[in-house]
Amino acid sequence: MGLNLIVLVKQVPDTQNITGEAMKEDGTVNRAVLPAIFNPEDLHALEAALTLKDTIPGTQVHVITMGPPSAIQVLKESLYRGADSVALVSDRKFAGADTLATSYALKCAIEKIGNYDIVFCGRQAIDGDTAQVGPQTAEKLNLNQITCVSNIEKVDTKKRQILAKRSIEGGFELIQAPLPVLLTITDEGYSPRPPSVIKVMTYKNASAEMTEEKYDESYIDNKVEQKSNQAINLWDINAINADPDSCGLAGSPTKVKKIESVILVSADIRMIENSQDAIAGMVHELIADHTLG
């Protein structure tokens, strides 16, 4: 019997490849020019789910993302790779959500799909590196979890059991757990597949209709939802039956008090000439003040 798999993904600014253009004059990052990408470890989580779909007949892979309408791009990327259904959870009322409020909305979306065997997440997203949303969502679903999974060793559909390899500091654990379970996947064990050309042709046209909509910064409204293509579900706060008090800013206990850009100020640097004498002088100084020796 096939499994029902749900993958949670996120669209993030590409903070890993910050180039000269992304740096402003004052040394801070110009986020506006950073490309939006599929969070790298989420792509590995999707791959882990698709690998199970390849081996267990009848398995369905559902992908959920929460974000602004532009996040549709990661759902299309998921369809290109073989996801069976995708949903964008998007509503003005979700804006300003911290990890707790995000996990609440995702929990509601997961319950809308219901009847799942495994929920997959990337270990963490590169914009915040918190690794919190997976475990927070699991707790809200009263679901067991295995975090930092590098590989799924075995899924026994008869016994409804999973054996997963979990990375820990300086080693690993092999964990056996009953289904259902939530897993967070690292970038160690899976190589995300490229998009399928056939699927790109299918869904590129299907979703082009959506991207033509001029809702770049504004959140979706009912009008857009009615027009939505069947391939991509658009769920607002009512569609997932979420309590507005637990969503967005209202549902977020953490507040950002202050943001400081990391700006390098030249320290009192002394340039040492690349010569035996100059280097010996520096070494002598470091020995004299007990830094070396």
Partner: protein
């Protein structure tokens, strides 16, 4: 002193060893507790932990709660979450701290999700201060300070309305304080009812290698980056480290390129270090790398690129080829010592 409103630390143990970060956190908790005039509490969960618990009191712990059960020998999320939620509800700390380890990062989010309180991940600093929002003034709030956005910004996060204020904290960033062997604290055994249903996950196998690289304890670190280019050149880094009695470090780029194993990695996703001397060879100095070493007392940067950001935080800079510079360095040191 009452344990209500205390500053609490989740004390992590693995294979009966107390995690270093937990000890660092107890020291920081003492500092925070003195600022908010509260007591320090801890929670230690495991198989047979009373001995370990006794060794922690001298860090200034007022009350350490222990939960012992053979099935709790190693961490799994479900029973540990249940116990922590239970104890937090009982003693109502104002602050609860966890190491930002695989365990802490697995456990803390579940607890906050259950208690509907805030959590800040991977803090590099904690302070006490005031906060005002919408006409409400909050006194003595925990400032949770962390790098974000790939280390390009430093954010100060607060969660003023809900208690406890929770944070996970990076290993190696909080300083140890002196022990007080005569400190009077008590150890309280707590009973939490656990059934087999509370243990869905079974650890079939657990492999953990002892750390062979001790970056955190090193006084001097010689570190190589992608500018080292080849394994043969990396031998020069190792040679210099041997000559100086130093530990070998590396940037993530050098690790990713396969020049050196991952346990040598310094930086945001590696180890945070603060040696007396850090020698960065062929390391450009990305924010992620700097986040792990910029508190070194002295920094020497060796790089061919004069514009490399590493020169902005270095105390000594040498531009040129490290193949040329390192042998001169070794020769100079051997001659002087």
């Amino acid at each position: 002193m009452s344990t209500k409103n205390s500053v609490m630390v989740f004390v992590q143990q693995d294979d009966e060893q107390i995690a270093e970060v937990s000890v660092e956190l107890l020291c920081k908790a003492k500092d925070l507790a003195s600022q908010v005039k509260a007591s320090v509490t801890g929670v230690l969960i495991g198989k047979d932990v009373r001995k370990s618990a006794e060794s922690l009191i001298p860090y200034g712990v007022d009350e350490l709660f222990i939960v012992e059960d053979d099935r709790l020998e190693n961490y799994t999320p479900m029973p540990y979450t249940k116990i922590m939620v239970d104890i937090i509800k009982k003693i109502e700390p104002q602050i609860a701290l966890y190491g930002a380890t695989t365990t802490g990062r697995d456990l803390a989010p579940r607890i906050t999700s259950n208690l509907k309180v805030g959590l800040t991940a991977d803090c590099t600093d904690l302070q006490i201060g005031d906060y005002s929002s919408k006409g409400v003034d909050y006194k003595n709030i925990l400032y949770q300070i962390r790098p974000a956005f790939g280390g390009n910004i430093i954010a100060t996060i607060v969660s003023p309305e809900k208690k406890p204020q929770m944070a996970t904290v990076r290993e190696g960033v909080m300083k140890l304080i002196e022990l007080d062997p005569s400190y009077k604290g008590k150890i309280t055994s707590v009973n939490v009812k656990l059934t087999d249903a509370d243990f869905p996950s079974v650890i079939i196998e657990r492999i953990k290698q002892e750390k062979t690289v001790n970056l955190k304890g090193a006084q001097v670190i010689v570190s190589g980056g992608i500018g080292v280019e080849t394994k043969e050149n990396f031998q020069l880094i190792i040679d210099l480290a041997h000559a100086l009695g130093a530990e070998v470090g590396a940037s993530r780029a050098a690790v990713d390129a396969g020049l050196v194993p991952k346990d040598h990695q310094v930086g945001q996703t590696g180890t945070t270090v603060r040696p007396k001397l850090y020698i960065a060879c062929g390391i450009s100095g990305s924010v992620q790398h700097r986040a792990g070493m910029d508190e070194s007392a002295r920094i020497i940067a060796i790089n061919t690129d004069q514009e490399a950001p590493i020169f902005k935080i270095a105390h000594y800079g040498i531009t040129g080829d490290l193949k040329d510079i390192i042998p001169k360095f070794i020769k100079a040191f051997k001659a002087k010592s």
